[in-house]
């Protein structure tokens, strides 16, 4: 296999104007869009003009002067990277004069560059080296003895890449990548002329600076000045496989660059339509967990959870699992067992787990972790629009004029999409942020929200209804759109409801704490500012009115005609990589793949014919219902794939009690996670690097996951499910996930056109992809809503029952940060801990002072559900009365605190609102110490001899 880099055309594609020009380069004619650079044109013709300071991820700069060309009829030697093509232009890229000039330029660069190429980490992958070759440099007249920048200390503070200033040619590609691609503005060129050098935020090391370690600068650097530590350690790659990130719902695609079976680096794929060549720290760098020593590679079983684990063969583990499940069903009934699919696993694996449950267990007790994040999105959008998914692709944001971000923190949660959004904001789009916290988006370099509405947690519906009040009473709605696309009578009922004085911004100000004027101004801007796009996250869904909030958002979009074209829409920012896919694949207890209710006879018969069994027509149990049923003694066995419900689900005590009451808990995962402390069978899972499959991102984009190395545990996860199914008598015969996708396509109308050969050819497909839309559907609801007429649903504000009072006077809300992912099982096992070694409690200075709490102090955080301790971070990011923490570390167990209140329609837990008290403390709580002890006991693995 040969290794080739992706072609670098030197400058980005021109912004489309619809006009094109024809020119001749070295005798070859070419027609291209107006605004294209000569450099890019030459590259598209298959040539390559020497260059150093240009790369196609950033705008050209014209500093190195290596890319000079001759243009007939023009004086001098223009830089091809900064000169646009023109009609009839005749360009020559190789003449004697050009060669001479380029060698002169190159000589200057090389005279100040260490010539340790043979031992340099970038040897063989260095543009300076390549260009010296390309211009035919054979000698350096200036010698190497003058003043140079060599010998300067390296900055090795970042855990993933090094900065060696002595190799820097001051091309500023890194600075521009950080500004333009990532939008963090962490780098500057300090000093002038010969003394100029790259510096991270006023001379701090990279780790201590504003840098978020996205790696865009490393990718842009033409030399070894910015280089991955792993490349230095392993050497340059010799093959590349395109695959999809397994962390978040952005779904970045990467070239996994390998040397043999060893992963050297992940390089964001330029052709990836979700990420367009960019990534964040997690996807690019944080994959070390795949080889972490904590990974469990052998199956294990035990009779009871106080015993140590016993390693067994795969055969024994699978047979034991099947016989336990059958035993339990014989004793307690068909509906006494169930399973949980994972949004971290592939579509194919998820489909198989729900098939195992429906076909093999004979019931519909299947649920997924989307229950705890985006189940209200599914419910709310299907009620209003008729489909359980976002309406746009990510590119759409580049056409937005007003962006309304609600309860989402994309710079931390969806960083690559955030970079795109920020690029659009820098171009002048307006921004409204509705969030209790002052998130980074509210004010960051070159971006400032027009309106920040820092509402009290739990008042989303009141706030959105007040915005609707303004839009309706000030007649800012789009009557033509509503008459054509929605049911006018339903609109009229809704308009009457939202117009009531009790819904006005003034009336709800005491509830939300946000000034009425600000709400009015924000509503006017959204309704009248051009293309209005809404992006929202878990701050919308994880509430007792999560589903109502989603519907209130959909109402606003319909009322203002902001659905059905580019630049607008309603866009859930999905948490985990495959939340969308897990929902699509029929992971919910009431519906088959493609969101069809189990009571629908025609659909059920289709599945029954294909699977050869009769299927349960009754909805099954959701995760919290399973746990309730377990404590009541009617639910006894659970299969959990790739999911850590003990850490991620609310009210840890209740989850623990439910799990402890079961007779057989089977956990399939990479690590002995917290849930595994209560498990009887552990089936070691495989990582995304070790299997084939697909993930579906937040844009409904289905993308391939490709195996780059053999599974260390012996099997891909889909194979393990097949083993269990067959041990239960199901006779599955899949040889490859492609066959599973064919079955999904045959059974699911929205996926009818999704097959691996299509994905291979197209790179990705956005569902619906079928005969009606053979190339997929980037924008939904263009000519009409999926449900027919868009439905306005009256959403009444119902305050949560989780209320503050004298005992618990503060409101806790929870979230995530950039460098960690969800419960942190993966990221905590990487060097990402350099940025977030522990969860901290953000508290406003006035609340901290009242309690005698200082920055870094240990504090006890207590709710009616439980108590934990962690350290305080005193900050004005949170409003007085509100505290905030993340849930990445099991030691903190933030979910000991969260209660069992949940969304009325979907039981999505109310993570975002918990009444708490905060007090100074000396260290970990008794519960934390007990838990740590119990976890340690539960993770014991018996030595092999003792196992006999």
């Amino acid at each position: 296999m040969t290794f080739t880099r992706e072609t670098d055309h030197g400058t980005p594609a021109a912004i489309a104007t619809g006009k094109s020009v024809t020119l001749t380069i070295d005798g070859q004619a070419i027609t291209l869009p107006e605004g294209t650079s000569i450099m890019r044109a030459a590259s598209l013709l298959g040539g390559s003009i020497p260059k150093l300071c240009a790369t196609d991820s950033v705008e050209s700069f014209g500093s190195c002067r290596l890319c000079l060309v001759e243009v007939e009829g023009r004086n001098g030697y223009p830089a091809s990277c900064t000169t646009p093509v023109a009609e009839g232009m005749v360009v020559r890229t190789q003449t004697d004069r050009l060669k001479q000039l380029r060698r002169g330029v190159m000589e200057l660069y090389i005279s100040d560059h260490p010539l340790d190429c043979l031992t340099c980490g970038a040897n063989g992958d260095c543009e300076l080296q390549d260009q010296a070759g390309a211009v035919g440099l054979r000698d350096v007249r200036y010698g190497y003895d003058g003043a140079t920048n060599m010998g300067q200390a390296k900055d090795q503070s970042n855990p993933y890449f090094d900065f060696d200033p002595s190799k820097c040619i001051v091309c500023s590609r890194c600075v521009r990548a950080c500004d333009e691609v990532q939008g963090t503005f962490a780098l500057t060129i300090e000093g002038m002329g010969f003394d100029s050098k790259v510096s991270a935020s006023q001379g701090e090391g990279f780790l201590g600076s504003e840098c978020v370690s996205c790696g865009a600068c490393v990718q842009a650097c033409p030399t070894a000045s910015l280089i991955e530590k792993k490349v230095v350690e392993v050497g340059t790659p010799d093959r590349a496989v395109v695959t999809t990130c397994a962390y978040c719902g952005v779904g970045c695609t990467f070239r996994a660059e390998m040397r043999g079976e060893e992963l050297v680096r992940m390089v964001p794929w330029k052709d990836g339509k979700a990420n367009r060549g960019h990534s964040c720290v997690k996807g690019r760098f944080a994959w070390g967990y795949a080889q972490h020593q904590d990974r469990i590679l052998n199956p294990m079983i035990r009779a009871s959870i106080d015993e140590p684990w016993r390693e067994v063969s795969w055969d024994e583990a699978i047979a034991h699992t099947a016989s336990e499940f059958r035993r339990i069903q014989a004793k307690y009934g068909t509906r006494s067992i169930g399973g949980i699919t994972s949004s971290r696993c592939t579509n194919e694996e998820t489909f198989l787990v729900q098939k195992l449950i429906r076909q093999g267990f004979g019931n519909n007790n299947v649920d997924t972790c989307a229950r705890v994040c985006h189940s209200p999105t599914g419910y709310g959008l299907s009620q209003t629009f008729g489909t359980s998914a976002g309406t746009q692709d990510f590119d759409s944001v580049m056409q937005s004029d007003v962006i309304l971000v609600i309860g989402a923190n994309p710079t931390d949660g969806h960083p690559v999409f955030a970079s795109r959004m920020k690029r659009r904001l820098r171009q002048g789009a307006r921004l409204i942020v509705m969030d209790p916290r002052r998130t980074d988006l509210v004010k960051s370099p070159h971006i400032e929200a027009d309106h920040h509405l820092p509402l009290r947690p739990g008042t989303n519906v009141a706030m959105l209804t007040a915005m609707a009040h303004v839009i309706v009473t000030e007649k800012l709605y789009d009557e033509a759109f509503i008459r054509e696309r929605c049911d006018w009578d339903e609109f009229a009922d809704w308009a009457e409801f939202v117009s009531q004085p009790a819904r006005s911004p003034e009336a709800i100000e005491p509830l939300t704490g946000v000034k009425a004027d600000e709400v009015r101004a924000a509503a006017r801007l959204y309704a009248t500012g051009g293309n209005g796009a809404i992006y929202y996250g878990l701050g919308v869904t994880e509430h007792s009115q999560g589903s109502s909030t989603v519907m209130a958002i959909a109402n606003l979009a319909m009322a203002t005609g902001n659905v059905g074209r580019e630049g607008v829409g309603v866009n859930p920012l999905r948490g985990q990589n495959n939340v969308q896919g897990a929902c699509d694949m029929g992971s919910f207890p009431h519906e088959f793949s493609g969101y069809r209710h189990v009571s629908d006879t025609a659909t059920r018969q289709l599945f029954e014919r294909t699977w050869g069994v009769s299927l349960d027509a009754e909805p099954g149990l959701r995760i919290p219902n399973m746990l309730d049923a377990a404590t009541d003694g009617t639910f006894k066995g659970l299969f959990v794939q790739g999911e850590d419900i003990l850490q991620s689900d609310p009210n840890t005590h209740h989850v623990a009690a439910g799990l402890a009451a079961m007779e057989c808990v089977v956990v399939q995962d990479l690590f002995l996670n917290e849930t595994a402390n209560y498990a009887h069978v552990f089936l070691p899972g495989s990582t995304f690097l070790e299997k084939d499959g697909t993930f579906t991102n937040a844009e409904r984009r289905i993308q391939r996951v490709r195996k780059v190395m053999a599974p260390l545990n012996g099997y891909a996860d889909w194979e393990i499910v097949q083993l269990v199914a067959n041990a239960m008598g199901l006779r599955w015969t899949y040889d490859h996930p492609a066959q599973i996708m064919d079955e999904i396509a045959a059974l699911t109308p929205t996926f009818a056109g999704v097959h691996y050969d299509r994905l291979e050819a197209e790179g990705s497909l956005q569902w619906p992809a079928n005969d009606a839309a053979p190339d997929g559907t980037p924008t939904m609801h263009i000519d009409g809503f999926v449900r027919g007429k868009g439905k306005f649903v009256v959403t009444d504000y119902v305050p949560t029952d989780e209320k503050t009072g004298p005992r618990f006077p503060l409101l806790l809300t929870t979230g995530r940060i950039l460098s960690h992912y969800n419960v942190g099982a993966q990221t905590r096992r990487t060097a990402n801990t350099a940025w977030h070694p522990e969860d901290r409690l953000e508290i406003h200075p006035s609340d901290a002072e009242n309690r005698g709490i200082k920055e870094g102090d240990w504090v006890a955080l207590k709710s009616r559900a439980g108590e934990t301790t962690l350290r305080a971070q005193v900050t004005e990011r949170v409003a007085p009365g509100v505290v905030y923490t993340t849930f990445h570390h099991p030691e903190t167990q933030a979910n000991v605190i969260t209660t069992d209140y949940s969304d009325w329609a979907t039981n999505c837990p109310e993570y975002k609102v918990t009444a708490v008290q905060v007090m100074p403390s000396n260290g970990p709580s008794d519960w934390q110490l007990d838990y740590a002890d119990q976890a340690r006991m539960s993770r014991r693995i018996a030595p092999l001899e003792a196992a006999e």
């Binding site: 509906r335 519909n364 007790n365 409801f497 007792s544 009115q545 109502s548 207890p589 009431h590 209710h597 009571s599 009754e618 909805p619 099954g620 149990l621 959701r622 219902n625 309730d628 049923a629 404590t631 009541d632 009617t634 009210n651 005590h653 209740h654 009690a657 009256v794 959403t795 009444d796 119902v798 005992r807 009616r864 559900a865 439980g866 209660t899 069992d900 009325w904 329609a905 979907t906 039981n907």
Partner: protein
């Protein structure tokens, strides 16, 4: 409900959930709210949970709000 380490019993939670659904749908007007609450429970609750709420409605006549109570009557019919 006690103040500390509080977990609702399954029975209390089912009653709470039925009331919560009814309360969120109440703005549709009584007749529609009853129909929507009943269909919501029928679509999303497993048979045991439905049987249990029907039994609970009989055992604790005052526990359910009027809309929830009527909806539960409808699913038991």
């Amino acid at each position: 409900m006690s103040d500390e380490n509080d977990v609702m019993s399954t029975a209390d939670r089912l009653i709470y959930m039925a009331n919560q659904i009814a309360r969120n749908l109440a703005a549709q007007g009584d007749a529609e709210a009853v129909a929507s609450t009943a269909s919501h429970i029928a679509s999303f609750w497993d048979p045991l949970m439905r049987a249990r709420i029907v039994a609970l409605a009989a055992e604790q006549p005052d526990a359910l709000s009027p809309i929830a109570a009527q909806a539960v009557r409808r699913i038991s019919a």
